[in-house]
Symmetry: none
């Protein structure tokens, strides 16, 4: 428990009462408990805007080389964000609500995480607008055998609170207190920037889901887009969903990373890992019982990286008239690693036709822009 | 990350370095990060003896009535304990090692946990002997929609550090610092008490695994021991195991709770929940690839509770010559609940034969002893 | 599970042959498909009679030797069939419905699948009657590091559409268009054949669930039926179920394969894999919250294979009056492999008593019939 909420006196009562019972049972440790509670009271205004989640990485979380899938990291990040966001949005009166993910900012995977390491995911609310909130999440990977720790990922997520009574009703977000006016102002800028981008991508024409390779056609030539293109389908089950019965954003991102990883491995036949994910906008929700089709294809390849576009289409199996719709799309960047986890060169992409060339050029532009940004950040930092 | 280790300067360096990179990227939040790190340095001597883990409870964690299985709580408790124990035992030179669970003290489930709630599991090292350590774990369940929190469970676990080079080599445990001599003395008493009990149960003759109902016999009469007796087998997979390739104690406890729950539900045909688990001693480890047979049978039934003995036998499928062996056994107590989560009366147990009567009498003795202890704790507390 | 059919050359032959057969079967239909696509493009309406699902095989999907369990392949096959069937049956007016599995034809595991490979499961509706539909499913395993692909499995499944309003109401199935009258006629023959077999097995007296070994008896002699007999119980959870809250056929098949694999491993103490599964009829559904007991016992052993009968009984824990009932039963054939995935001889089965002898003789008859069929298929194919 890392927060104690002042305004919810009833809740505090409950904790105190139970603590009291326990105190009688386990004398020495309960001292520790009440100390914790008192400390919470002292710091006072903290208001539960922070949360932490830890988990040992298991074999199923990783690829054959032992690297934990980027998709699992994204899923943990989203779970931590959802907890802190939902908790905060329910500190006021009105309908109970759940924080639904609407956007993840571009995020980079800074260090690989391995099986047996403990991932610590810390989420904190860093900005609130009237109807949305920003959560910044940090993932530290700890090797509990050596004590070594490394920053594996940092991400910023945007949530909106949807009423449990009516999932289409967006609730108001209680404001947070900022440490300084400057901090508040920076948050407002991030808010405006992401809002504009979300509107922009909403208006953009959707990429058509590529048609799956026809197995009776002659096999595609190696290193073409068609050769590595892949898709999977998944039937949405109860454990994929929130209390609203809509798919957790983190579950969708995990599926996207899985497909992108298959595309990348097919292209270079080596151990590959997620290097970064471009901003993802979740324009439309996916309900329990839907079938999601996740397709990935290479758009751009540099010397040492591959950009994969991933498209997620959803369709209800039982309400066919609703048709298939695009739920999410995003660009994942993967790199290829040798046995010592050092980057390998990536085979060049054989581009065929106008559409593939257009996507390649757009990918290249994004690649150059990111490169430039990294350089300028570096220069500014010095 | 909730601890920063002073003596591991290399690790700290790593964090600082990465933090520095990030700082350049995300100006405002990195301030928060460095503040956290500084606070860690300030409190100084804290030495990573604490850990927290949180998770949203999903439909798969719960029964049909929405109550999270006691076995899932036990599994989370053990994961938290393993992390904090392993981390602590690797703060010295010598072989890297893993903390292996050897004992869980009697634990009570104080409040039910429901789907959608967030379970916060906090683990802290509270005592160390030369070769073992005690971890106390607290589970708080938080309803993030209402803000209500309740104490769901408190448990004490004993671990020993096993070398990664040689799983049978027990390493030395670095001592912790105690807040007071009184606290240290209390810990030593708990250590001596559990040591004696472990020796005692090791010497005790093993209960024979009960024979399952023979379907060619006429069906067992309702409410007899044979009627509700149940067993399951499980093939140990990679995700069940530690880096040693031995089963996590938490995984075993989850299977035990699952069987006990089926026995209890068969006896009373209502919604049942775990009320408490008696001390469990893990005398022998279970290796990856083994088949475990987990059998549960009713031993004693009071007005409102059922005691179920659970026996876990393991056998290697590929080293048949090693034979089947008893890995763990324990007593689980279940209660039956109505729709408002209020305890229901439990049908009386029809005891048949000498062995069943003996086990019933022993169970009754445990029941009365616990009842008396609760009363005396209450009186002392007032 | 995981099977690799004997000497790889035979397996390759078989693959070629099967591929050839399929090519012949699907020749005209693939025309249909491309026609559909064209029509789809023209009319903008997609016919949805085909579906593909891909997934990376993870450590938990496989045994200790890295072979993916046959049960996992069966589960993916059934999921793909359920999706394509449900989607098709909802293209008309009337109640929304789910395709419920009623039968899987005999299926062989042609090549082993390993951790890290991508399984591609393609499902296509190949026949419709008034109230049922046939889905043919093909599983290709792709090594994404080498690009190698192999046919792992082919199966044919029969589904009936059950109304979401009333699970006992069977809806009508919209007809599909056949490429030729011949193709339609062949489908009708398959339909009639399976219908007759389903009626037959329904009328057949049920095998009694074997009684588990009594541990108070002296241990069973090695290589007897009783020695390797095994059973597990499983409490049906939400993730096991369809939107109807009934267990997916694929989940049941996975449990059956798990028990059969344990029986086989106990008999020969080696790495074992599923070679084939006889036709399975799902006469009765299993509801969420039920306990299923899955029991496996050896019926017949040849030089290189073991036939295991698996019986699935279900019982509701809260509606005890409904009693236990037989939900499914089937015969699984396993083979034993050495470290190079080559078949090993299997210890002979020690048969005791009349019942075991009768089952052995019946198993031998099935074995000889299959062998003959394979030979005649081979001759015909040349």
């Amino acid at each position: 428990m890392d927060c104690s909420r002042a305004q919810q006196s009833q809740a505090s009562d409950e904790v105190d009462k139970t603590t009291a019972v326990v105190e009688k049972q386990q004398h020495s440790q309960s001292k520790q408990v009440s100390k914790d509670v008192r400390e919470g009271e002292k710091t006072g205004a903290w208001k539960c805007t922070k949360n932490q989640l830890s988990r040992i990485m298991r074999p199923d979380d990783a690829n054959v080389a032992g690297n934990v899938h980027g998709g699992n990291i994204l899923k943990m990040i989203e779970e931590a964000g959802c907890i802190v966001g939902t908790r905060h949005c329910n500190t006021q009166n009105g309908d109970r609500c759940l924080a639904a993910l609407v956007r993840v900012e571009k995020t980079e995977f800074l260090s690989p995480v391995f099986i047996g390491e403990v991932a610590h995911v810390t989420a904190e609310i860093t900005h609130t607008s009237k109807h949305s909130l920003e959560v910044q999440v940090k993932v530290m990977a700890e090797n509990i055998l050596t004590g070594a720790k490394k920053l594996a990922n940092k991400a910023a997520l945007w949530y909106v609170p949807c009423s449990l009574q009516n999932v289409d009703k967006i609730m108001e977000v209680p404001p947070i207190k900022y440490a300084s006016a400057e901090q508040e102002e920076e948050g407002r800028k991030r808010y405006e920037a992401q809002k504009m981008e979300r509107l922009e991508t909403k208006a953009r024409p959707e990429e058509v889901m590529p048609s799956p390779p026809n197995p009776e056609d002659p096999p595609k030539e190696k290193h073409t887009v068609g050769f590595s293109q892949s898709s999977l389908i998944h039937l949405v089950g109860p454990s994929d969903c929130t209390l609203h019965d809509y798919v957790h954003g983190g579950v969708t991102m995990k599926l996207m990373d899985e497909v992108a990883g298959i595309v990348a491995a097919r292209h270079c036949n080596t151990n590959i890992v997620t290097a970064s994910v471009d901003a993802i906008n979740f324009h439309r929700k996916i309900k329990k019982g839907c079938v999601v089709t996740v397709t990935g294809r290479l758009t751009f390849v540099s010397n040492k990286s591959m950009e994969i576009e991933v498209l997620v289409d959803a369709s209800s199996m039982v309400e066919a008239e609703k048709g298939k719709y695009r739920a999410v799309s995003a660009f994942f960047t993967f790199i290829s690693l040798d046995k010592d986890n050092k980057p390998l060169p990536v085979p060049a992409l054989k581009v065929e036709g106008e559409d593939e060339q257009r996507r390649f050029d757009e990918g290249k532009a994004r690649y150059l822009q990111n490169k430039e940004k990294r350089l300028s950040d570096k220069t500014r930092g010095q």
